[in-house]
Each structure stands twice: as structure tokens, then as C-alpha cells.
């Protein structure tokens, strides 16, 4: 599975006084199995951009190829796109509607027209992936779950479609620290097990730095830079200028005058600090 986006633009309220260029001339490629982090100030166009990738929004200009298929072309079946690109929106638990967790997760696969046996297999697989116990949870009402469980059940509904591309918009927003960690490790294991491309939109720089192979930075509708977390977080001044911060470990490394970009997480930071002190002790 690959993604190729070229010259993508989208303008809201075109022609009116308050028209806004939400996405302006964005191009990028994503290789099979990559984990992409997307960061940007609120209103920088991240959400608009990702909603194009599964055909929910149509671009004003530009093209998107998913697995070699031009999804902006005429006569493309939405069905075919949705099967390949799964998307979990912000606060996905607000879309739960079925009587049982099982039926809610089955909603996507059922829309794909799969057989009951196939649906059952996928629901079990998805519940396992998000770490919800099938025996205990499948027949419960999704509305009776805890906040973190609801979130995971909702994401399971997307995973059950077995997408080759999984897009997650702020999947940890509003969760307590434990549920936050649960959702992150769930995303990591889904990425590893399904080999899917994952695109994670988040304001949490720590998570982005720790999980991404590459980071896309959006500002005012443009993709202003992309690179490994080390490359992107090396330029703290630039990021601050567009309203973004650094992961706390990277920020700390900067404070200590260490090579900040190379510090992704606390493990890196601790290594660097002990190296620094050993160097001085010698």
C-alpha cells in the first residue's frame, strides 16, 4: 500500500468574502508500512488534508493515488476507497450507535458487504487488536463502557475494515494518562501487526516524536516541512514561529545545550545526559 498526493488544494466558501484556503498545493508520498506523524497549529489544515485521503472531501485541484488508484478520478467507487483507507475522527466514541459493541464494530465490515463469518472473524480480530476482551465486552452496550474503552471500541470499528491506511485524528485527546498510554500502545501494535500505513494527527509532540518514521508539518494550509522527527524537531525556532512546541525531552536537551534534534524521548535524553557528564568527568 502506498499513498501519493500531488498538488492538492481545497478552499472553503470559495468565491465568498470569507473564503479560506484550508489546503494549498500539498504534495507528498508515503511508502508502504510507514508511520507518519502530522503536526500543526489548530486551523493549519491538518483535518482538511486527511479528510481528502478517504474521499470524504473532494479537492478543488490536485490528485491522490491510494495503492496506485486515483481516488480523485471520475467513476471511482467510494466503497473501494473506504475499504483501503480507515479514518478515526476526533472523539470517535461520539459515533457509537449500536446496541452492542459487537454490532457497532461490525457496522463497517457489514457495509462492505462481507459474509457473516467474515464479519465475525474481523470483529474478533479488531477487538483483540484494541485489547477489548471479546467474551466480556462483545455483548455489552457501547454506552456502558468507560471513556477509554469507548474510545478503543470506536477505533476497533475502523480497524475491522482492515484498511491498508489507518488515519487517526487526535486519538488520545481528553483521555487520562493510563487510557492515553493504552491507546498509544494499541496503535503501535496495530501498525506492527497489520503492516498498515498509519497517519497520526496529534498536538502531543512527545507521542509524535516517539512513534513516527516521518513527521509532516502543516502551516496555513501548506505542508511546510517533512522529515524524520530528528530533522523536524532540530529547528525549534521555526516550529515556535508557527505556534508549535518541541517534545519535552527535546526541549530539555536544548536547555542543556545538547544536540536537540537527536533526542526523541526520555531514553535518548538520559543517555545523552549521562554521556555528557561522563565526558566532563574525564
Amino acid at each position: 500500500m502506498t499513498i501519493k498526493v500531488s498538488g492538492l488544494s481545497h478552499t472553503y466558501n470559495a468565491g465568498l468574502a470569507y473564503e479560506t484556503k484550508a489546503v494549498a498545493d500539498v504534495s507528498f508520498d508515503v511508502a508502504d508500512g510507514e508511520f507518519i506523524g502530522i503536526i500543526g497549529h489548530t486551523g493549519s489544515g491538518k483535518s482538511t488534508l486527511i479528510q481528502h485521503l478517504n474521499g470524504i472531501l473532494k479537492p478543488d485541484s490536485g490528485q491522490i493515488w491510494i495503492d496506485g488508484i486515483d481516488i480523485t478520478g471520475k467513476g471511482v467507487k467510494m466503497h473501494e476507497i473506504r475499504k483501503r483507507v480507515g479514518m478515526s475522527f476526533q472523539y470517535p466514541e461520539y459515533q457509537l450507535f449500536e446496541e452492542t459493541v459487537y454490532r457497532d464494530i461490525a457496522f463497517g465490515p457489514r457495509n462492505l458487504g462481507l459474509s457473516d463469518a467474515e464479519i465475525d472473524e474481523r470483529v474478533r480480530e479488531a477487538m483483540d487488536a484494541v485489547n477489548l476482551d471479546f467474551g466480556e465486552m462483545a455483548e455489552r452496550s457501547p454506552f456502558d463502557l468507560s471513556g477509554g474503552q469507548k474510545r478503543r471500541a470506536a477505533i476497533a470499528g475502523v480497524i475491522a475494515m482492515r484498511p491498508g491506511v489507518l488515519i487517526l485524528d487526535e486519538p488520545t485527546a481528553g483521555l487520562d494518562p493510563k487510557s492515553h498510554a493504552d491507546v498509544l500502545s494499541m496503535i503501535r501494535s496495530v501498525h506492527e501487526r497489520m503492516g498498515a500505513i498509519v497517519m497520526l494527527v496529534s498536538h502531543n509532540m512527545e507521542d509524535i516524536a516517539a512513534m513516527s518514521d516521518r513527521v509532516f508539518v502543516m502551516d496555513m494550509g501548506r505542508l511546510v516541512c517533512s522529515g524524520t522527527p530528528a530533522e523536524v524537531f532540530a529547528d525549534a525556532e521555526y516550529l515556535r514561529g508557527i505556534g508549535l512546541g518541541l517534545p519535552p525531552s527535546t526541549e530539555m536537551a536544548r536547555m542543556l545545550g545538547l544536540a536537540a534534534g537527536a533526542i526523541r524521548d526520555m531514553d535518548d535524553l538520559i543517555d545523552a545526559i549521562s554521556r555528557m557528564r561522563k565526558g566532563r568527568d574525564l
Binding site: I56, F89, F97, F143
Partner: protein, 266 residues
Amino acid sequence: MIRDITLGQYYPEYSIIHKLDPRLKLVVTLLYIASLFLIEDFYGYIIVAASIGGVLAASRVPLRFVVRGLKPIMLIIIFTFALNIFMTRGEVIWEYGWLHVTWEGLRMAFFMALRLILLIIGSSLLTLTTKPMKLTDGIESLLAPAKRLGLPTHELAMMMTIALRFIPTLLEETDKIMKAQQARGADFETGSIFRRAKALVPILIPLFVGAFRIAQDLAMAMEARCYRGGEGRTKLNALRMKRRDLAAAFACAGYLAGIIAERVLV
């Protein structure tokens, strides 16, 4: 399409019409609508059109904005027009099978369509020049006498205030839920009517759940801010009649006198 509906929309401007007391504007609008049913000949329509044209100019709301508001009800206007043209008895001027057009029908259809258009223009002017909040205050104040008859006027006004506040929020919510279900392969656009109605369930249930959640949160927040009904409440912007309101009231009286005079004399 939803964007086109100007009825209920506010057009920000600092005209004299905008500044008038909402209670006065409400009463005048009601009288204006009543006056539309008083007139029955060409001269009457001239008085009405000239008056509403004057108000429109004074309000500084662009004409195209008002005209755009007519679009969604064009169908109703055309239907009324057709109904009147074909259904009125009188001197036949054209006939085809069981369809016949009469002079009286033509006249009637024309006037009815005109009346509808003037009605929409007049009532959209009310909302275009009055902030929803002011309108709510005005309705509450006008209905105050009914409170003694047991009508919960304050509660009604509070309901309207909250509705105005949360309609945009619920629209956003609906949009989000639709997108989320579409992303899971839901299809709202094809299939039989029965299928499409069934496809609404995954939208309606989360929407209702969301609305209840909002209601619960809001009730809690209102209580925390000492809300306990209308008793003993004061108002930041208490309505007060000003000299310009008096002037507008006189102008309105003049207009009504004109309409009645025309009806009686001509």
C-alpha cells in the same frame, strides 16, 4: 441550500432599523403581515411595495441578500401561482382539455404571488435587522402579560436563547457524525427511500445521545451559575423605548392609515 435561507439570519449593520426596539419591530411586522391581507387592488400593492422598499433602503441590507432568501420558497410561490391561475372561475381566456385560465385567475395568481413575496421580504427584514437574542428578549417582554395566565414566558424565551446558541453546535456535530459513519462505509445517497431512512439511524442515535449530553452538561453549568428560573433575574440589556421608536411607531400608523384609506376610498 441551507446557506440560502435568509429567514432567521441576521445581517450585521448599524442602521436605524437595526437599532429599533425589537418589541416594536415584532408588532410592526405583525401589522404589516395583516395589512397584506387587507389590500386587494393594484394601488394597495404600490403603497406596500413602496413602504417596504423604503424600510429596506433604510436598513442598508443589500437587496440581493433579501432576494436570495426568496429562492428556497420559489417552489411554493410557483405552486400558489399555478393553483390560482387554473382554479379560479371566471372569464376564460385560454383552454386546454380540463385546464382553463381566466382573467380573474391570472389577476388572483399574480396578486397572491406578490403577496407571498412581500410577506417573506417583510418577515425576513425583521430577522435580518434584529439579533436573535434581541428578538427573544422582545418576545419575552411582549408575552409578559400572558405570564399571569400561567404561560411560562421566561422559560420559553430561555429555550429560544439556548436553541439559538446550540443550533450551530448541533449542525457541526451532525456533520462530524455523518463523516465518521461515511468513513465506515455508510451510504446515505443511494438505494430506496426505505434504505435511506434506515441509513439515518447511525446518524440520529449519536446525535440524540450528543444532544442529551449537551443538555446534561448545560443544565449543570447553569445551576452552578445560580440559575433558578426567571424569578428575581435582572437583565444586562433591559429593553427601553427611545424617541426613534416613537417616530417609527408613527410612521407605521401612517402606513396603516394609508392602506385603510386606499381600501375604503378607491
